[in-house]
Amino acid sequence: MAERSFAREVEDLRLGDGDTFRGEGILAITKALLQSGVAYVGGYQGSPISHLMDVLADAKDVLDDLGVVFQSSANEAAAAAMLSASVMYPLRGAVAWKSTVGTNVASDALANLASGGVTGGTMIIVGEDYGEGSSIMQERTHAFAMKSQIWLLDPRPDHECIVNLIEKGFQLSEVSNTPVMLEVRVRACHMHGSFACKDNVRPAHTIKDALNNPKRDVGRIVLPPAAYEHEQEKIRTRLPAAINFVRDNRLNEWMGPKQGKVGIIMQGGMYNNVIRALQYLGLSDAYGNTQVPLYVMNVTYPVIDTEVAEFCLDKDAVLIVEEGQPEYLEQAINTVLRRRDIQARVHGKDVLPMAGDYTAQVLLGGVREFLEKTEPRLLGNRPPAPDASSVLSHPEVEKLKQVVPARPPGLCTGCPERPIFAAMKLVESELGEHHVSADIGCHLFSILPPFNIGATTMGFGLGPASTSAFNVKADKRSIAVMGDGGFWHNGLTSGIGNAVFNKHDGVFVIVDNYYTSATGGQDILSSRAISKRRNTNNSIVQAVKGIGGQWVRQIDRTYDVGRMRDTLKEALTTTEQGPKVIVASSECMLNKQRRVKPQISQAIKDGVRTVKERFGVDEDVCTGDHACIRLSGCPSLSVKQLDDPLRDDPVAAIDNSCVGCGNCGEVADAAVLCPSFYRADVIHNPTGWDKFKSKIAMTVIGWLQRRRDRRRPALEALA
């Protein structure tokens, strides 16, 4: 199913005492869950936590041996609600998702969970998609933790530390009856590192035990008066219990000298870059042997007042290193110090930027400014810090800025979504521009060149819902695009159901590529693969009709650009009332290639007749206007400069990464572009009939060709 098999990674989950795990951070987290005796795991895929879901989905045997229940949840809200199993029963459970987007979706369930509290340890792994390379809005999960009172762990980017904190986190959750969040940033998730393993632990209490012995307590349900009690309990009981546990177990760390006039307080996740910045300033060696006292908050919520006070007590000033905004920690620490009248000055966002990545370079500037203000003697002889500014300001490099082209992400070679947008472009040239609501998924790349289609994106599965205001009679209709992933995540109800109910007259395109492709190709309800463990092959069209959709068209080969265009045109112009739903289906090419490529090579090897298709461009027919590329953007369709003094512009060219999807030819035909494209079919292991047919044809053709070649003037004379 998924983009690749995780069989090797699954082996890592079997490691035990005495073994060393080497691999990605997110897999270390997965292993840590099993070492902590979880009874169930759920979640929703998305970078950077997809691999946790993928590996567990492939790890049936390991999980069955341990008696652990694993589920790919329908969405993050479903995953969060799953944690309710730990409310009454002493079951350890964990869920994972991309944050803050997933936390947004989950927050209704999370707020209920946190209010009533938990009996078994619950852990929410959030992949904090913040900073360079992120694909979402730049926000902090910290706010969610504070508003619902969920403890927030932010471990140092070190496998050992992360794994340890997961085990401790479950205990923390249990002693304080509060769910715990573990925040790991993108790079930490994909970081290669190692840790010493422990044996996996079978859950002491299993889901089966719970089902067989149901328990309830109305006091745990969020309904007045219990809800008021919960709030008091959070403050009077759960918070002190958590503070004591964090302090007693030294989850936060003190580094460097005990004494010092200044010190640095930081989120655990910032530790590595702070050390690097200190190293640049000559204040630490590469092994973290620092000359500045550090207080590393592996737990960023709650703030342990006594620890902060103790750290700051004899200092003139402290620097808070807290990535993102607003500066919650800085505010909290100021309150702690003011209440106790501790005079250490607090620096933070005054010397560091309010927003954006805290890279080593950014921290270098901030720490240096902090020390210049508070303890310049520490800066000593100031070894030269790395500095690229002289290179960057060199005229040759300045000139380069105008040259290096942007390289935005785009649809893969042969992507079945490309012809959908090519068809939309053709419709646009006929019927004019329309308001198009985009959604989250690979299809969002339509907003970039060459398609430039799509005005807004409001969240996963919310493309259709975001056209809901455009429900009036007008000369044009709104168009919404949504993927199959978004459809099952919530779009069926929030988008299609909403449109049916409100008699929305717009057009709704559902891009069905058999997987949630953007997150790594996981299976969903409508996936076409037969899965033993899940129920797949549930039709999107049936679901749409079931919810009341009347005008529904299924296109089962998106590469048919002409049909795609005509269907869109019909949807935009028909007099029929209500939502016009088009389900455009073809398999994600990335996944398809992974699936069929080995099969094809095997078939060719085995002597089975196999036709391999590839596209090409006749370069002397191509005039180099690149209209085809403006309707495609396929990575394998590029340009090349010909060795011809008569030509100014490069011609189109298709490289050997072409998978023969057919889009080029279809577009050339539907848009009446040009006859340069051809499809080459190579028959491997041809049958006798194939050979015979070809031989006859080529004999005649060869004779005709030679005849004409003889009559051509011999142009070599001019060379």
Binding site: S134, N273, A360, K399, V403, R407, P408, L411, P449, V621
Partner: protein, 521 residues
């Protein structure tokens, strides 16, 4: 602030240069940067070092620019080094770029600095979407990257690692790993690199070959290996072409009538024109060119190396060889075409090849082939034309090498005899004459403007709608040029108009320039 602090005799806490080896791999999603990263990590770990790598898969993996980052260092008394998760500008030992513009991007990010960075970059290009969609030539200038590398890198190892990898049946990551080994920046032996590759199962042999070729290439510091001789050059026809006496006559005329500077381009043009139609058409080309050259001479072209004649030789040939159905059918049915495709596909004896063409003729194309008078008459009968168009205007999948289709294309390709009487030819000739007249008139008063008008021919290209759009841009441009023609800077404006027209297909940029011109002219 006062800088007394700088002079304090306090030693630094530690040597800030004692940092881990840092390696940034800049690539595009799908180039195998992850494999290369894993290899380097494994290499370091095999030597007992602590290695950490990070990347940001997510959306950038889908063909966008992305970066992998590795730090590695030996542990000290059992203590692990604290490694950073992102490269710091000015503090990277090795930058490995899997594409040339990505090497440029890494310089812009400050990752390549002359005090420490070895830049290992493949100088092949994978064009970005912005470079590909321009109606003209949008390809970025490689020279700018080469220039910046000279400024930024401490050591540079630049060659086409992609071609080297492909030549060895492997992928670029293996070649880059070999280049890293050859560069000798890391203190590990060549064999220990090979051990890492061999530990992987899939494609290990091919990877080793690419690794070794790249390693040797770097170690020997040999310049670009002799370019493999081009197949065209290698396959000079064994039987010397029979010299067509009429063609020899044309060649001689060209040498006599045209200035030296226009000989090469004139020969290319003549070749194209004769190939398009026949020897007589070549004579017509030289006749027209001769007149244009005369205008050039009297405008003082001798002092300008006959730029007008040179431009005319090029663009007249292009104008005379318009893309009609006959030409397309002829090109598609040539033996050289089939040979080229077979070569590209590396077709073996045991395989069978078929190609399918995606033709979508409209009634306009059919009308173009008809005799001019008849075509014009038909053009005046919109209902009949519409009826015919409904029968003609549809997509046709043409199996080139099936006998019926081939014969049909072959027959159309042989319709040269009727071409010069056709409606299309009449239209093209009239349009061409008007353009040449404008250029000839212009060159008398403003030499460069004449040249620029000739170069505007570049705007006419494509088929069907694209062709009409090109034509309309061409017409708009020439009309706008008329407005500025009396000005001294008319040639500049003409160039600006042409460049704008080549920037976007809708012609928005062109309209903008025309608006500007109208505001003062």
């Amino acid at each position: 602030m006062r800088d007394e602090t700088v002079k304090l005799a306090l030693p630094a806490a530690g040597d800030a240069t004692e940092r881990p080896i840092s390696i940034a791999i800049v690539a595009m999603g799908g180039q195998g940067g992850g494999v290369l990263t894993d290899w380097i990590v494994q290499l370091a770990e095999n030597h007992g070092w602590v290695a950490q790598s990070t990347s940001v898969p997510g959306v950038a993996q889908r063909t966008g620019a992305t970066i992998y980052y590795i730090e590695a260092m030996p542990p000290l008394d059992g203590r692990k080094p604290i490694l950073s998760l992102m490269p710091t500008p000015g503090d990277v030992d090795v930058v490995m770029a899997a594409e040339f513009m990505e090497a440029g991007r890494s310089i812009l990010r400050g990752l390549v600095t002359p005090d420490r960075t070895t830049l290992i970059a493949s100088n092949h290009r994978t064009f970005a979407i912005g470079e590909k969609i321009a109606p003209g030539n949008g390809i970025a200038d490689k020279g700018a990257v080469t220039g910046a590398i000279g400024i930024a890198a401490k050591t540079e190892i630049i060659f086409d690692m992609n071609a080297l990898a492909i030549a060895n049946g492997s992928v670029i990551s293996a070649a880059m790993f070999g280049a890293l080994a050859g560069a000798g920046v890391l203190s590990f032996s060549r064999d220990s690199y090979l051990d890492v590759i061999r530990a992987g199962d899939k494609g290990a042999q091919a990877s080793v070959r690419a690794f070794e070729a790249a390693f040797d290439r770097v170690q020997s510091k040999s310049p670009e290996p002799a370019a493999p001789s081009k197949p065209e050059a290698a396959s000079t026809p064994s039987s010397p072409a029979i010299l067509d006496p009429r063609l020899a006559g044309l060649a001689a005329r060209l040498t006599q009538e045209l200035p030296e500077a226009a000989h090469a381009i004139g020969r290319a043009g003549l070749k194209k024109v004769v190939d398009f139609q026949d020897v007589a058409y070549g004579g017509e080309y030289l006749d027209i060119l001769g007149k244009l050259h005369a205008a050039d001479r009297s405008a003082g072209g001798a002092e300008r190396n006959f730029a007008f004649t040179q431009a005319a030789a090029k663009y007249l040939a292009n104008a005379m060889t318009y893309d009609d159905v006959i030409r397309v059918a002829d090109l598609k049915t040539r033996s050289a075409r089939r040979a080229r495709i077979e070569g590209e596909l590396e077709l073996s004896e045991s395989q069978v090849l078929q190609t399918t063409e995606f033709m979508h003729p409209r009634m306009e194309e059919v009308m173009g082939m008809l005799p001019a008078g008849f075509g014009r008459w038909l053009g005046g009968k919109p209902r009949l034309l519409g009826w015919l168009d409904r029968r003609v205007n549809k997509g046709r999948r043409v199996k080139t090498y099936s006998l019926p289709w081939f014969v049909a294309l072959y027959v159309v390709g042989g319709l040269r005899g009727i071409r010069r009487r056709s409606l299309r030819h009449a239209i093209e000739t009239a349009h061409r004459d008007e353009w040449l007249k404008a250029a000839t008139e212009a060159v008398r008063a403003n030499y460069q403007l004449g040249v620029e008008i000739l170069q505007c021919r570049r705007l006419v290209k494509g088929y069907s709608d694209t062709h009409s759009r090109g034509l309309s841009k061409f017409d708009k441009t020439l009309a706008a040029i008329k407005l500025v023609a009396p000005r001294d800077d008319a040639a500049d404006w003409a160039r600006r108009l042409r460049e704008a027209a080549l920037k976007d297909s809708a012609g928005k940029e062109l309209d903008g320039v025309i608006q500007t011109i109208k505001s003062f002219a």
